[in-house]
């Protein structure tokens, strides 16, 4: 067993025994870490709210065979506005769930941590309707699953491209016609997110286009993960 220090964002927590929790964190230099936090559920626990989901913490932990054990943690960022607004919290939950599913143990790739940190900071400062869609598309691109948007992903033709087919890996033309309808606005927003215009999309995207971009991103992500995203639209149920 060895002691290590890292920074991470708490993705989810699961109850363990009488008063403990297992926390899943995405970290700066160790990929996804699953660690036990002892006594965290007691009201007078020294952990307080430090190991709550969506907390950005600096921590010290023992390396274990299956689960690590957190020994100390300090808060780096609270993301207060995300915690105090139900809609922002629901958006953050989708982003945390996706990172939890995608991220691997012992990976030294800092990208998922940095992207989630950036997305939570952005959501904390302004509730853009495009944030979840943009985050999912950026994460898919990072995973090597960026969509084909310039030519038809089915036949390679030039279009017009009016559909989006997650199984084909991008936009499709009228003759291939797979998947869901794709509006020119949503196609432009996705291209903008992936082509270096992220900030302007987050600022300017209207809620209708943002919601279409999010639906398509969710479909592509569910296809990539081969499972449903539980947290999507959970408050509308």
């Amino acid at each position: 067993m060895s002691l290590y220090r890292t920074r991470g964002i708490v993705l989810r927590t699961t109850r363990l025994g009488e008063a403990d929790r297992i926390v899943n964190l995405v970290t700066e230099d160790r990929g996804k870490v699953r660690a036990v936090v002892k006594g965290v559920r007691r009201t007078a626990s020294r952990w307080g709210g430090r190991m709550e989901p969506l907390m950005h913490v600096s921590l010290m932990a023992w390396n274990g065979r299956e689960l690590d054990t957190v020994t100390q943690a300090e808060v780096v960022e609270v993301f207060k506005c995300v915690r105090e607004d139900l809609n922002r919290m629901a958006k953050a939950a989708v982003m945390a769930e996706v990172v939890d599913r995608l991220c691997h143990d012992q990976s030294d790739d800092p990208a998922p941590y940095r992207m989630l940190r950036g997305a939570l900071a952005s959501l904390d400062s302004a509730d853009s309707p495009a944030i979840v869609g943009a985050f999912l598309w950026k994460l898919l691109a990072q995973e090597g699953a960026a969509p084909v948007l310039e030519i038809c992903a089915g036949c390679g033709g030039e279009g017009p491209l009016r559909y989006f087919d997650p199984a084909a890996g991008g936009a499709t033309c009228g003759s291939c016609r797979g998947g869901r309808p794709l509006s020119p606005g949503a196609a432009d927003a996705i291209a903008g997110v992936l082509g270096g215009r992220l900030n302007s999309v987050l600022r300017e995207c209207d809620s209708r286009t943002a919601s279409e971009m999010e639906r398509l991103a969710a479909a592509a992500m569910e296809h990539h993960l081969e499972r449903r995203l539980w947290s999507l639209g959970v408050l509308e149920r």
Binding site: G49, V78, D100
Partner: protein, 199 residues
């Protein structure tokens, strides 16, 4: 070498309980085998009796030994104030404080987006249906002070606002007997926001 089928079955059944791993299941099974017959029969009959005689109260969904739980049956309790909790065990915790004389509503869980638990899985519709008939004037949202509990409280608060009912949340802050230097930023921030005047 393995256990006899009957002992193995007992270990397997005990191992299905929450927080009981294979080793704990073996330890409990051997404690049962070594115990007096009368003690084991008392344990077995307590389990079946508890299961047969209890159900959920039809009003508040707390554990009840009949149609209504003792709190809903008690006519001396204030019907105008409802305390909303996640779990029947929370009712016992609030009752122990001795500072609440109203009635309860048990949600049986909390909204947890990441686990796919939405409002449809909780007893929220039943809570809203109690507001008018029971002339409720205040709903105390007594969910756990964690992300899921906060989300549930915010969601219910949003539903109660148009009904003209006062929705309140338990205060959160520093635990009695703790040192300030160990408090985390979130807890200390809330304690600061909820400070009280001494004058």
């Amino acid at each position: 070498m393995s256990y006899t089928p009957v002992v193995q079955k007992l270990i397997d059944e005990l191992g299905r309980m929450p927080g009981i791993g294979p080793k704990s299941a073996q330890r409990i099974a051997f404690w049962i085998l070594r115990s007096e017959r009368v003690d084991v029969e008392r344990l077995a009959s307590s389990i079946t009796e508890a299961k047969n005689k209890t159900s959920f109260c039809r009003v508040c969904f707390d554990i009840a030994e009949g149609d209504l739980c003792p709190t809903c049956e008690d006519t001396r309790r204030d019907t105008g104030v409802l305390c909303v909790v996640e779990d029947p065990r929370d009712v016992v915790a609030v009752e122990r404080s001795g500072s609440f004389k109203g009635r309860y509503h048990v949600l049986h869980g909390a909204i947890s987006p990441i686990d796919g638990i939405g409002p449809d899985r909780l007893r929220i519709k039943e809570l809203l249906a109690r507001i008018d008939p029971e002339s409720v004037t205040e709903v105390i949202l007594c969910t756990n002070p964690n992300l899921e509990g906060e989300a549930t409280a915010m969601y219910i608060g949003r539903l109660l606002a148009p009904l003209g009912v006062k929705a309140t949340r338990l205060a959160s802050g520093l635990p009695v007997g703790g040192d300030l230097e160990y408090a985390d930023e979130l807890t200390l921030g809330r304690a600061m926001e909820g400070r009280i005047s001494l004058g």
